[in-house]
Symmetry: C2
Subunit: 201 residues, 2 copies
């Protein structure tokens, strides 16, 4: 099984001194049942859903040819809701449009999961992420794509919020990323992917 | 500093149960002097230099905008020298042409390093990798791009060869990737990138 993880700096694992992020930790634990798991980390710092919509298809096509068992995990939203020069980088309606377009096309070719953006240090920005996350959940539900909200849990996570505050205000360290990974590990939609043994060749 | 690592499954870290590969281990140790280091892992399984030549530019452009300190590390050669249906996937002259084209364009935009492919279990394939590695060194020298040969060291590395043999015949486990990472960590060209403190903002 080969999984492309697509999204932003949280997908990349920015700030993790161990260079695993939540993606690396998640894959390390999944390997116990899926030793055939190859991970392609396609997180890009500062990227919005508008930019992701333009590039995901081509990067995935190169990594998941038809003969492999390919799957996709998307995670974004924090950069869309950043305020720059007095306005949000993307209007919420546009973020949801990009989400819908990406997932509709993606699920036609692959099993797909969507994970919402986490909390950051700025409470106003976190509130905007939370609003977007609620709306993303509705879009995902309408498309039958499993959605995992992370912001409402992580904003109450001491280790996450402490590491984010001690870092650059957005990215945690190793323990914070471990907390994020644990949310995904315990998610039924992810478990359904990895909790059955790989087919033997 | 943001570094794109471009190449094949060894760059991806395929087979490492810790999902770090040599790239993750290298970055973890480099962070002691460069805590600002962001790693983009752009290794793709089975990819030859012909395919890499077609895609590296676009994937790098999205990750290294002009305002960041971007650098590139390339590593490939094992897939070029695979024999399929009685012939090498790429003729050596073509591999060297792709290498020259990639590095010439890359070094016009970024600091660039090139790392040769490692040894694998099949001694004939390893001999072909070694032949290519010697020729790649000459091309890199002519372009003033630092080149690191890994095959001649790793074919004599007990931990590397044992893990490759115990795995799928190509990819090692955690200790093998640690041995690969150590070669790069001790390379003067890499040390020149990371052994000076990051400029403070």
């Amino acid at each position: 099984m080969r999984v492309c993880f697509l999204g932003d700096s949280f997908v990349n694992g920015t700030g993790d001194p161990e260079y695993l992020g939540w993606v690396g930790r998640l894959c390390g634990s999944a390997r116990q049942t899926r030793p055939d798991l190859t991970s392609y980390n396609l997180g890009i710092r500062r990227e919005t859903s508008r930019q992701l919509r333009q590039r995901w298809r081509q990067e995935v096509a190169l990594r998941l040819p038809a003969e492999v068992e390919g799957r996709l995990v998307f995670s974004f939203g924090a950069n869309d809701t950043t305020v720059e020069n007095g306005r949000q980088r993307l209007a919420t309606v546009d973020s949801l449009d990009h989400l819908r377009a990406i997932l509709t096309e993606a699920k036609a070719g692959f099993p797909v999961l969507m994970i919402g953006a986490p909390a950051i240090a700025d409470p106003e920005h976190t509130a905007r992420i939370e609003t977007l996350s609620h709306k993303m959940a509705i879009v995902c539900h309408s498309l039958s794509v499993p959605y995992l909200d992370t912001v409402s849990t992580l904003k109450r996570s001491e280790v996450w919020m402490q590491e984010v505050a001690a870092g650059d205000g957005a990215h945690p360290g190793a323990a914070g990323y471990a907390a994020f990974a644990e949310l995904v590990e315990n998610w039924a939609a992810w478990q359904a992917w990895v909790c059955q043994k790989a087919p033997t060749d």
